[in-house]
């Protein structure tokens, strides 16, 4: 049974991965002993462990389902799920939606369970040895929560499929547990999960990390060394050789100081061979006990490597969630020009920093709940054949709506770049050396929108005029006419379409000036199975690389002529000069630069 089976029977499975010790009570190396280390055996979880030094972490997966008939035995699912509701990941390509972070919004899930008596089978390896009947003591969730207080951040999955379908073949979305509440007076328990990128929230992840060291004594504005005390770890102030630039950077008050030497002695760290008033700041004297904050510097670094560094090293997101080979393949082709240089002198939210670079370097990252990885995609023409959607075979009746967000329309993009003083305000125009302005004068004419709408970008990352021009042009191209949204629902048979994908849509209300149907290209900015296994709701945003456009690519020396080229070469991997009238030899439209 699958999406295409008439009378398909949708099922929703919820899986939790709880911590579970892989040892047996009292079995080496576990030294627990009944009556000595505790009055009863543990439950193979840390909270009840009697030999924490030898606690050996493993995972126990618990599976739950909605209560319905004919769930297969081998699923071994507890049928206590009452409801599953989700808020999908929403991407914000180019940061065009001012109401959203440039990083978009995080996927969330909320699962409600009905609590119930439980035999403790599977969750208590020693249930047969207990001196009580588990079914008559507590409930599943009261016992589970008492034994598993450390559940935050553990993985959970929502599998949506059909009876007779193997769980691993179902559409599966991955989350981490944020909190578990309940049971309430009605025996309801709620688990809230969120996507892994929530670890980048400012409350959880900052870059650079805060450093608490203080000046041991007053220093003058010309001092060539300084001594730090009351730090947490000597690793807080790494040696110069640990930095790609060969020197470290700290901030004291409003002064940035570079150091080329570091020594650690008797609980004191001495930074010496200093460059005072570095990076556009002013040298100043400082007092004992002033905070010494380590700075984060990137110099000419590929922006996708910066994104990975922020995610892995500052948000502590496991590398397994970052398919960096895929990132590189995408970035090498589409983001090669975006090397960035910046100095961040005080702790800032990783999410904010990621938002800045995704907006200013024209890419986006998002948590793909289905593939359980953080994807990266440049704002670029589709290289895959877009999914074709029409109102005959795909779009569900009465399920769609179109909307235009005029607030997102822009006619000018001002890009400020090359920051003067990284200790000063980020959105102060005078704090930048360069400004690049791109104006769509036609759009501002009285016959058209008759309005000037400016988007300002203050970039501490961009380092060249070419980058600034590119960002301005792309943003203006995409939001020249505002953001055009389309919301629609598809039957589950079409649910392969997912966030970040591009689709060409034919709908009776999308027509050209003659009233003829006009195929319109959109990008999926969010997708949600509103009726699991039955109906998927999509939010789509107009895509700047339109259906009718052809985009130019540089070719190799052995490239064929237009007439000799294959259709694939003509459409996706090549470009050819048009004639003076912008026409190709076969009369088709010429190519565009991107």
């Amino acid at each position: 049974m699958d999406e295409f089976t008439p009378g398909r029977e949708p099922v929703t499975l919820v899986e939790l991965d709880q911590d579970f010790c892989q040892l047996t009570y009292g079995g080496p190396p576990c030294t627990a002993e009944l009556g000595v280390t505790g009055p009863r055996k543990c439950y193979n979880v840390l909270a009840t462990c009697q030999d924490p030094d030898n606690y050996t972490l493993d995972t126990l997966t618990l599976r739950f389902a909605r209560a319905q008939a004919e769930l297969p035995w081998h699923w071994q699912a507890i049928p206590s799920v009452q409801s599953v509701s989700t808020n999908p990941t929403e991407i914000n390509p180019g940061g065009g939606n001012k109401d959203r972070s440039p990083l978009g919004s995080r996927a969330k899930v909320r699962v409600r369970f009905k609590d119930h008596p439980h035999s403790d089978f599977r969750v208590d390896p020693y249930r047969d040895e207990r001196d009580y009947q588990p079914l008559e003591r507590g409930t599943f969730w009261t016992k589970w929560l008492a034994r598993n207080p450390y559940h935050r951040g553990r993985l959970m999955r929502i599998r949506e499929g059909y009876i007779d379908q193997a769980p691993e073949d179902m559409k599966t979305r991955h989350y981490v547990i944020k909190e578990i509440s309940g049971p309430d007076a009605n025996g309801r328990v709620t688990i809230k999960g969120e996507d892994i990128l929530s670890l980048t929230d400012i409350s959880r992840a900052q870059a650079p990390r805060v450093t608490e060291g203080e000046l041991a004594s007053d220093i003058s504005e010309t001092a060539d060394s300084l001594t730090i005390v009351n730090y947490r770890s000597s690793d807080d102030y790494p040696a110069p050789s640990d930095f790609e630039e060969g020197y470290g950077t700290v901030r004291i008050s409003d002064e940035v100081i570079r150091y080329n030497s570091r020594s650690v002695n008797n609980g004191e760290i001495t930074l010496s061979n200093l460059t005072r008033g570095a990076d556009g700041s002013e040298a100043d004297s400082h007092d004992a006990e002033d905070n010494v904050q380590l700075c984060l510097r990137y110099t000419g670094k590929e922006v996708w490597r910066v994104a990975r560094d922020l995610l892995e090293n500052y948000a502590n997101i496991p590398a397994a969630y970052i398919p960096f080979t895929d990132w590189e393949a995408e970035a090498d082709t589409w983001l090669a020009q975006f090397t960035v240089t910046t100095l961040i002198t005080e702790p800032e939210g990783v999410q904010d920093l990621l938002g800045e670079i995704t907006e200013q370097c024209q890419f986006f990252v998002w948590w793909d709940e289905r593939d359980q990885e953080i994807k990266l995609k440049a704002l670029r023409p589709p290289t895959e054949e877009p999914k074709q959607l029409d109102d005959y075979r795909h779009i569900k009746a009465d399920s769609w709506a179109r909307d235009i967000d005029d607030d997102q329309r822009i006619s000018q993009v001002w890009v400020y770049y090359l920051q003067r003083d990284p200790t000063e305000s980020l959105d102060e125009p005078t704090n930048y050396k360069r400004l690049r302005v791109r104006i769509d004068a036609q759009a501002e004419q009285p016959e058209k929108y008759d309005e000037r709408k400016v988007k300002r970008i203050y970039s501490r990352w961009l380092e060249s005029q070419a980058q600034a021009i590119n960002v301005a042009a792309r943003l203006l191209n995409r939001y020249r006419d505002g953001a055009k949204y389309l919301t629609l629902r598809l039957d589950a048979k079409d649910r392969e379409l997912w966030t970040g994908d591009v689709a060409d849509v034919q709908l009776w209300s999308l027509v050209d000036a003659t009233g003829a149907p006009r195929l319109t290209r959109y990008q999926v900015i969010s997708a949600e199975e509103v009726q699991p296994g039955e109906t998927v709701e999509y939010d789509l945003l107009n895509y700047e690389f339109d259906v009718t456009s052809r985009f130019a690519y540089w070719m190799g020396e052995d490239a064929p002529s237009y007439t000799e080229a294959s259709e694939e070469e003509r459409s996706r991997s090549a470009a050819f000069w048009s004639d003076d009238a912008g026409q190709m030899p076969d009369g088709s439209t010429g190519y565009e630069w991107i």
């Binding site: 009378g7 319905q68 008939a69 004919e70 769930l71 035995w73 507890i78 049928p79």
Partner: protein, 290 residues
Amino acid sequence: MTVILSDGYLDNGIDGIAPWKSRILYDQIARRDDATVSASSTDSDEAYVDAPVSDQTWEWWRAASQPATWTVTTGSGVTVSAVGIAAHDIGSQGATVEVQRNGVTLLSHTPSDDAPIIFLFEPVNDTSFSIRLSGGDAPPRVGVCYIGQALSMIRPVQWSGHTPSRFNVNLTKRASTSERGQRLGTSIIREGFSVDFNVENLPEEWVRQEFEPFIRSAWRYGYFIAWRPMDFPEDADFTWSDEPIVPDNSGPGLPPRKGGDANGGRRMSVSWSARVYGGHVTGIPPWGAL
């Protein structure tokens, strides 16, 4: 859904009540304080031995090897006239199930499906009752097994207006069509079955003595029911009631008359609804410690 009847039951019924009248199995000797549950073996990867007593349809006992025996032993003799088995896959495994008293087979059955089975037989008194499973592809799973005395309804379930559970499926069906009217897909969600019972003209004294223990048991536990075991042996259900079963007085309420009906005009009627187990896992039963 199958009712297996012994010859003696067919000849005489139980408790002198005609064999075609409804039987309810709510009694469970395994819940007695002096009862112990054991098995010839248990596949501990997915099963535990006392699962069939837990009243939960989503956990089960399964032997590690065949033939397999699951036994309830009591400290003193108990009377048993019925065995109910639900949430099993004996039919799927092609196995045979036998009801045994102290190792002696009373009845056996090789089901063709995994529907609930109710064995009804003349009451026997003993300290050990078992189900024995043999044959088939692999050891079957048994989620619910009741062993006890069946309640024989002194009056039949009203024929008129009764919908056998097999026809009363709780099914949600949703079909979707495209904007231009094409049929896109159809989904169904089955949540088991339900059934309503109506029994009238019950002697008030019988209700208090025989039926009330069942009412109280149904507050917490499930029960097997065969509404017409002889006429419709295929209508054997494992059910539970979300709401308490509440009988009403009926009739004129006159006191018993000498030489007449012992209950006189004191009659009671009872109607109740039940959710019917409709295949492996239909829900968290409403009873238990909550």
